[in-house]
Structure formats: structure tokens, C-alpha cells
Subunit: 459 residues, 2 copies
């Protein structure tokens, strides 16, 4: 006999973080937890898939932070291969389909955790039933790619469509697997949503140097197939041979189920929640992860940023709250980092385009410096770009491109953005210095100085 029953929809980062947090606070005698997951895995690192495909990570198991068995040992009733197809808010009940055994189950809930994640964007042309075309969203997707690559070693040509960070990481992974890789990007440079064009150009150069063909301003109109298998990617300027096609066109939040149940979905397509991750206007219905929209702390606008780090934080917050505690997820500032071959790329806050769209007037400053004192062995060059509001000098955004030890500097900049620091105040920041770690003026400080000059010049 339990006091309360929690049903979780989605067994990955957000859902199972919530379940685990709730379990930590309320034992099995107090809280019953049932978790439906349509795939075969729980609590895994989707971000790690490219590294597993590329061979840097040896085993699939390594990507699983917590297996279904481990969750079950904690008294969480995990039901794999079960897809929730309807939520009855009024009767506090979900309807799930058993994808293996067939049939349906109904489950009552007192508390509901909605954590359905996101699905790859698939344009019309990608919806043909062609084997060899993959998204990279779930561990099941990753497993399918591995099986495809292992299946017939003769498959040597890969086309990755979409030059966002998933696309770029997958291009590198496939290159490492010995494939001939072409990356198609519709913008003028890869990572166009992540970084400004000047920084994106540095990324393009780096991945071309590694041997990946990069086609920018590319338009895909279709996929050609033979015997149900993809053979070519069709573009207006000709077709590209393709034994495997990976879609890296971004994802969209899985909010249809919520919408069908009458739960509020915001302009980004994500489920709307308050800062405690309670679904707006509901009682004891919570949501977290790729399927929700977050508050952008700089623009005040809703955003959907599908990242494991947000999913974990939001899931934890939801779990604390639904178990009677108090925690909040105030919002995001758009921090992201990726490693492409030897290149490290990071950003926080707003890009120029995002700042303009939000109505900011701003100045920018870019500096080149080194990761360590110039004379210290292993020093490597990096570029830091700062975007600061005109007049106030408030730091609006930062981008870093470099090699080893460059990108993690974005965290200091993220904390500065978070706290609305001005670039002038940042010039005085007491950052760590020793020759193995930085020049006597850390690149962050040099950038802050140059940005301060730019703010003054634009007064």
C-alpha cells in the first residue's frame, strides 16, 4: 500500500533523474514509481553516441549511466518498449502500448512526469522508407548505425546532412570508421546556429583539413534508393553517392502527446512549465528535458535547447519538487561546447544573430591568444570573441575556437553572462594564472579588455 504513485513517461535523462530524485526523498513504502520507455535503454548518454560510433568509446554499456535493472533495484518499475499513447489528465491515467508483446496497459497516477525527449527533424524527402538513413537521437538509433556499419564493410560513402554539432561530430565519427564523408550544410558555414559566421569559418577550415568534404549552401531535394536502400543524396546541383545517410537537421520536442492531452505547448514547440518544472496550469504534472521549453535568461524569450545537461538538471528539479521539496530551474543562457577533430568550439549567451533578433545593440571584440604562457611547452592558439551590449557593456555572448584547453574557458564566461557582468568589470576578474595554465593575461581577460575598448569607442 503506497501513499502516492508517480508515472514517468520516458526513461532517459530527464525522466529517470526525476524518478531517482523522488526515490531518494521518498522510499518505496511512500512512493510507487512506474516508468514507461519506448526504447530498450534507460538513462544513457545520447551525446556519447558519436564517440561510440567513432570508436573512442568501446562499449555501448559505457554510455548507459543507469540500466533498467539498476533502476528496478531502486524500486522503480521500468517498462521498456512501452510507448505511452495517451494521457487522461482528468482521470489521472495514461494509456501505454506494449511495442513487443502488443496490447495496451492503463496506469493511474497521482504525479506524472512527462519526459518524452525530442525527435530528429525529418523533411518530406527524408520520409521515404529507405534503409541506411539514420537519426542520432536515441541509443537505439546509435545501435542501428553500428549494426549497419558492421554489417557490410563494403559501405564506404557517408553523407551527413546538417552541419550542427551532431552532424559535425557524426561526420568525424564516420571518418574515423574509414568512410568517405561529405557534410552538407544549408548555411554558408557549419554550426551556423551555434556560432557566428566568422567563427564558423574556422570550424569549416578545421574539418576540411581533417579530410571531411564540406559542402555549404547545400540543398537536399531527395534520396535515391535501390532495393529499398539509400544510394544517393539528390541536390539541385547533382547527386552524391551515399551508402549511409545521417540526419543532423536538429530535433523537435516530442510534445504531441502533451498537446493531445490539453497540456500547454509554447511557441518553440516545447511543453510549457514553471520554474519548478511543473507543467503550466496543472496540478502534479511535471515535464523536463528535450520536450520542454526553457526561459532564456538574457532575452526573456522561451527557447527549446535539447541538451543532456539541461535534461538532467530539470529532471532533478522536477523530482525534488514532486517529492515535496523545493528546487528551481531558472533558465538557460545557451552554453554549448563541442570537439571536432582537434578543434574545440564553445559558446555561451547570444550569437550576433541572436542578439540582433532580441533587439540588442552591441559591439564585438575578437582576440587571439594562447592556452598557456607562450613560452610554456604545449601552448596552443585560440580565438575568443565577445559580444557586449552597447552603452552598458553587459556581456551578451562569447565564442571560443581553439585546441586543447581552450573551450572549457567558456564556463568562466558563462558565469559572467549569468551574473550580467560588464566587460569592463571582467577586466579585473581574479582568474587563475600560472605558466602551465594561461598567459599572465588569460585570453578571457584580454578579450574583456578589447571588448571594453570597443564599448568605449561606441559610446
Amino acid at each position: 500500500m503506497k501513499d502516492v504513485k508517480l508515472v514517468v513517461i520516458g526513461g532517459d535523462a530527464a525522466g529517470m533523474s526525476a524518478a531517482s530524485q523522488a526515490r531518494k526523498r521518498l522510499g518505496p513504502d511512500r512512493l510507487e514509481i512506474v516508468a514507461f520507455e519506448r526504447g530498450r535503454f534507460t538513462s544513457y548518454s545520447a551525446c556519447g553516441i558519436p564517440y561510440w560510433i567513432g570508436g573512442a568509446v568501446g562499449e555501448l554499456d559505457a554510455l548507459v549511466a543507469r540500466s533498467p535493472e539498476a533502476h528496478r533495484e531502486a524500486g522503480i518499475d521500468v517498462r521498456l518498449r512501452h510507448e505511452v499513447v495517451a494521457i487522461d489528465v482528468e482521470n489521472r491515467e495514461v494509456l501505454a502500448r506494449d511495442l513487443v508483446g502488443g496490447g495496451e496497459v492503463r496506469e493511474k497516477f497521482d504525479q506524472l512526469m512527462y519526459a518524452t525527449g525530442a525527435s530528429p527533424v525529418t523533411p518530406e524527402w527524408a520520409r521515404v522508407p529507405a534503409a541506411g538513413v539514420f537519426g542520432v537521437q536515441t541509443l537505439d538509433d546509435g545501435t542501428a548505425i553500428q549494426e549497419w556499419l558492421d554489417g557490410e564493410p563494403a559501405r564506404r560513402t557517408a553523407v551527413v546532412i546538417g552541419g550542427g554539432y551532431i552532424g559535425v561530430e557524426m561526420a568525424e565519427a564516420l571518418l574515423k570508421r574509414g568512410l568517405d564523408v561529405t557534410l552538407l550544410e544549408k548555411s554558408a558555414q557549419p554550426m551556423a546556429k551555434t556560432v557566428d559566421p566568422d567563427v564558423g569559418t574556422l570550424v569549416a577550415e578545421a574539418i576540411r583539413r581533417e579530410g571531411i568534404k564540406v559542402v555549404t549552401e547545400a540543398q537536399v531535394t531527395g534520396l535515391a534508393t535501390t532495393d529499398g536502400r539509400v544510394t544517393e543524396v539528390v541536390t539541385p546541383t547533382g547527386s552524391l553517392p551515399a551508402d549511409i545517410v545521417v540526419l543532423g537537421l536538429g530535433v523537435r520536442p516530442n510534445s504531441e502527446l502533451a498537446a493531445a492531452a490539453g497540456l500547454p505547448v509554447g511557441p518553440t514547440g516545447g511543453v510549457r512549465t514553471d520554474r519548478r518544472m511543473r507543467v503550466a496550469g496543472t496540478d502534479n504534472i511535471w515535464a523536463a528535458g528535450d520536450c520542454v521549453e526553457s526561459h532564456h535568461l538574457l532575452t526573456g524569450a522561451p527557447v527549446n535547447i535539447p541538451l543532456g545537461t539541461h535534461a538532467n538538471k530539470q529532471g532533478r528539479v522536477a523530482g525534488i519538487n514532486l517529492a515535496g521539496g523545493y528546487a528551481t530551474f531558472p533558465g538557460v543562457i545557451g552554453t554549448a561546447v563541442t570537439k571536432v577533430c582537434e578543434l574545440e568550439v564553445a559558446r555561451t549567451g547570444l550569437t550576433e544573430k541572436e542578439a540582433t533578433r532580441a533587439g540588442f545593440a552591441f559591439v564585438t571584440a575578437s582576440v587571439e591568444s594562447t592556452s598557456r604562457a607562450g613560452y610554456y611547452p604545449g601552448a596552443s592558439r585560440m580565438t575568443i570573441k565577445l559580444i557586449a551590449e552597447r552603452r552598458t557593456g553587459t556581456l551578451l555572448g562569447a565564442q571560443i575556437v581553439g585546441k586543447a584547453e581552450a573551450a572549457k574557458r567558456i564556463d568562466a564566461l558563462a558565469v559572467a553572462v549569468w551574473n550580467r557582468m560588464t566587460v569592463e568589470e571582467m577586466t579585473a576578474l581574479d582568474l587563475s594564472y600560472a605558466p602551465p595554465f594561461a598567459p599572465v593575461w588569460d585570453p578571457v581577460l584580454i578579450a574583456a579588455r578589447k571588448a571594453t575598448d570597443a564599448v568605449h569607442a561606441a559610446m
Copy 2:
């Protein structure tokens, strides 16, 4: 015919940063600059000396950021081997002694930049005239050590007295030169002023593993010499053979000259300035670098923290102001980092001892995590310790010990301390995440979570 004349006392980081900034704003037709330096070098990285001694840096020249010739080309009249011995504030004049040619010169000034640096602490027993005993404060000191080591390869035994970061870095450098090295530290663990005992113990273990003998709670009572050369370090529990003795007992600000001229010297022994680096109560006399005292932003107390990064910032601020601009140096929060063998050690804010002395009640939390996702190749373990004020949860301090990619995380924590963040707010920080850079919960966030729990538990 110049408008204004600036005299600089001390040709290293602080003094020459000030001179260079002033020069950038006022050309040689507007500002005459004379800089006196008692040594043979200008604008060098004293922090780089251990790496030069140890062989990681090949050439002395690499440590010189700007040579006297380069300064002269910028129209700065650098006078090496000239020691200023008196300042006549009323008559706006300094008296300098020519250490090579002999004789004295007088120089009038409109603006005076006081940047005399610091000198190694030398207890009574260290003041015997013994060859083979060295401080590590100036490039001249570094050159003397190099010559001593190169001179007679038979010298194989080194004793480093003082386990602060200079002592520890020099111990490693001498080990790399093939010497048998003993490090004597009067406290219970090395780096006792830098990190808490629990963290210091990790440092001691790491340097012992590398092959450095570490003697803690050591007391030195004298040096034994033969033919004017040091041969032994004498302690109450016996003597240690020593072909070379390096003093790493800290430094004290060179403020005697200022005091003799009636300039204010604070309780730390450093010259007192305002936030524009103007010497308190004076007109157009400025000071910066190891010789001044700074404002600690957390305790509000004056501190003297001799670090190149502060010297450069303060010198820049002084230079901007003395040339008619406006810049401030608001204070410090005690950030520091060092690399000892493979170990990275970093801190910011207050240690437990410092927090106690300042009257704070606090909780602490230590976590172990990894630099990268656990499954990603090259992930290494690190420990992060946070100190947070009771009740408010304000982050008071942080310490990190780890291997590659650990220590620079202190910068994000330093920006958090700077902005008086609470550990609870920090749990929501949008820090960068991707498997090559962090676990999905960055160690900083895990530490913030644990510290938040500790704050709640102590409510």
C-alpha cells in the same frame, strides 16, 4: 620639450605595464618616461623561472615579455642596474644609485610610479654569507641558480625550504635536473597557506610519489658552510646535506623606500593605494604590483598577494589613470593555480582557515568526479571542495586537485565567488557539457549540489 615626466621605480610587470599603458595614451611628445630597474631585465615572467630551471622552457629570453631595447624603442628611457634609494615627495624627485658605474643620479618627476616588487623572506639563519643559497624572486635570481647548477655537475643534493607554490615548483624543477631533492615545510602539509590540510595532504602524496622527499613540521635553525659554500641545512633533528638551498619562504613587499619617503604602508607591509592605484593621500604618485596591498573582496581586509597577474592588472590601471584615463582595480579574491608534477592544484576565495579568521561560519563539501565523461578516453579524477557561508549559502571558497583539465575549472568558481553567488544558485549554472569536456554534471555542479545539501542540513 615634454608636458609631463613620469618616473618609474622598478622595471618589471607592474612598472612597465604602467609605463606602456601611459605611452599608448600619451606619445613621446606629451610624456617623458624614465624607468629605473636595479636588475638586468625588464618585463619578465618570474613565475616562469622554475620551468626554465627545470628545462621545460629552453631559453631565458623566452621569459622576457619585453626587453629594455623594446621599451626604449617605445620611447621609455630604461636605466638598468640603477637602484632608487630615496624619494623626495615634496620636491618631486628621486635619487638613484648606479650599481655598475657607481655614482648617483637625481631625476625630477611629475608623476611617479612605485613598483619595487617584493623580496624573499630571509630569516636570521639565512642571512649568513653562504654561496649556494638562492631566492627565486627575480630573473637575476634565476640566472644565478642556472649558473650554479651548470657550474659543477657534481652538486647533487638540493634542499628547498618552504612548501608554498614556489617551493613546490622549484623542488620539481630541481628533481627534473636530476638532483636529490628534499622539501622542508614547517606546517603539517605543503601549500599550507594555499589550500586546506585535506587538500594539502593530496599534494604531499603526489609530490612524494614523484620522488621528492617531503619533511613536514620541519624547523630550520641554521645553514652549515665550508669555504663560504653551503653544505648542510641544520634542523633540531639533525642536518641535511645540501649542495644548493632554495628559499621558498614567501616574500615581503619592498615598501621601505616608500615608507622612508612618508608614503603610507598598510598592515600587510604593502603600500596603500586607492582603487585607481594612486598611493593613498598623494597627488600623482602611483603604486602597483607585489609592493602594494590589495583589498580582499570577501573579507574587506587588506591583503598582499604577490602574483604577476595582479601586478599586470594593477600596473595597467595605474598607467591608464596617470595618463588621464579612468580604470580601477577593485580587489582580489585569492585565486591561484599551480602544477606540481602531474598534479594540478587550484584555489579561489577563502580557505577554511581564512574564512574562520574573517569570522565566517561555513559548511564544506568535497566531491570526486572526472574531467571528462567517465566513458570518454582520457577522463581523469579530480576533487573539488567548496566552502559556503552558513545560512546564506554564499560561496566563500573553492579548491581543486586533479590532473589534466582539472585546475582551470577554478575560473568558473572564481567568477561565482566574485559575484557572490550562492551554491544553490550555482546548481543551475549553464556550464558547458559534451563528453570530451565534462560528465553530464560538471564536477563544479556536483560540488554545488553537495554544498547546497550541506547548507540546508546546517540551517
